[in-house]
Symmetry: C2
Subunit: 282 residues, 2 copies
Amino acid sequence: VLQRTGSFKFRGAFNRISLIPEADRPRGVVAFSSGNHAQGVAAAARALGMMATIVMPSDAPAIKVRNTRAWGADVVMYDRWTEDREAIGGRISDESGATLVRPYDDPYVMAGQGTIGLELVEQAGVAGAALDAALVPCGGGGLIGGIAVALGGRSPATKVYAVEPAGFDDTGRSLAAGERVANAPDAVSFCDALLAPTPGVLTFAVNSARLAGAFAVTDAEVAQAMAAAHEYFKLVVEPGGAVALAAVLSGRLDCAGRAIAVVCSGGNVDPAVYAQALTATA
Amino acid sequence: VLQRTGSFKFRGAFNRISLIPEADRPRGVVAFSSGNHAQGVAAAARALGMMATIVMPSDAPAIKVRNTRAWGADVVMYDRWTEDREAIGGRISDESGATLVRPYDDPYVMAGQGTIGLELVEQAGVAGAALDAALVPCGGGGLIGGIAVALGGRSPATKVYAVEPAGFDDTGRSLAAGERVANAPDAVSFCDALLAPTPGVLTFAVNSARLAGAFAVTDAEVAQAMAAAHEYFKLVVEPGGAVALAAVLSGRLDCAGRAIAVVCSGGNVDPAVYAQALTATA
């Protein structure tokens, strides 16, 4: 299933925004995001006839900034290294009365993303398979939290694993530590969609109770997964969207004879970055 | 609908090969192709438990040669500028008794490709639309001939247009001339799947009776269409597979307020070529 706005984020944004009381709607919504949540919120707000202001880092992929504007949102840029996006979003919300739509740490956002879990069970049923495991890209943890709750209800034997970029394995290390730990501030990865500094409070509460484990993959492994999706599935997958596929192709999990769901969660990648990923691994 | 072997060619190849009499099957099949028919024949032969020998030009995309071999076929290379692939294929067929599976000029191959026409009608029905027109990539003319016959039966009001690379517009010029004319021998295009020298005898008989017209598009327009499919559909489309989309995006046909089917017929493109198409147009 391909996604409106090119990633899963529309699901949670639409679910959250559709629950804003009628009286608050004229003041619009505000969100901070590196780009996929931005587009999801902008598209959901437009579908519901509301204004959207999106706070985006100045190094966000051009495709994501362009498409967020194309959905009619106002884009406010900030410097990811020196400014605090939560503070900027909070200030805009305070001043305008716009409802803040969080990217992951919100039960209605998580519930929207969790509809992917329902679809995984449906697709497995069509294929006549019972899912042994699901591998899901993990940034702040909203997508995987929603999916884990959905699978817990519909397919409780399925083990759910988070996959993160190396250096941004905060969920994996937090699961091991039993508490929320942060990534090193100087960590870098081209998986722009998965650079949240720590697990969310709510998402970690859900994920620490439900996940079977976590894997971390390198940017080189992610580029190989993007090239494999290109060659074998004819599908454009962005770096952050390809980490779960990278974990499988790199042998992180023994898949032999088992039914494994792999979530490719987005395809919003600048042509130059995509071209480099394809040709670096050819 | 994505395609087994990454293009539509499996449909015609499977239909044709499945009709080979039992007694002839041990001698296998032979085909000549720049790559997509090659993979379709190789995969169909394997599915039916038969040997396949494929005659491919030495400048065929590496991905197509690799995948043809991966389906278990023997690949024989020839020089597209100095050797005659039909003669080579005929000689192999004569010597080995293998059945020659033509890339387009065969009624059973055309019928197999025509199943796409049935699916277009089905998809339009789901969308609640009646198709005003269908734009279809055209090389030898088997795909569009099969589709035109299928639409003639199921959706007779739909106009069917061929789209060809500039310089390889033999079907368009043949329709205008009322007879089969050839492309200039020095014509070049990166649409490797659509470089047939003339319309087929059988395909032209069908197409001259059924097509509403033809358009030609430049390689630059094709590269823009590949980039658009990348950005908006997250779909990898090869040059020859993107000509119909290029015709629409370049405004060759007035689409305003009309329901138009656009066939993207393949996605087998080398990463370096794909990267170049994306970045040249970014």
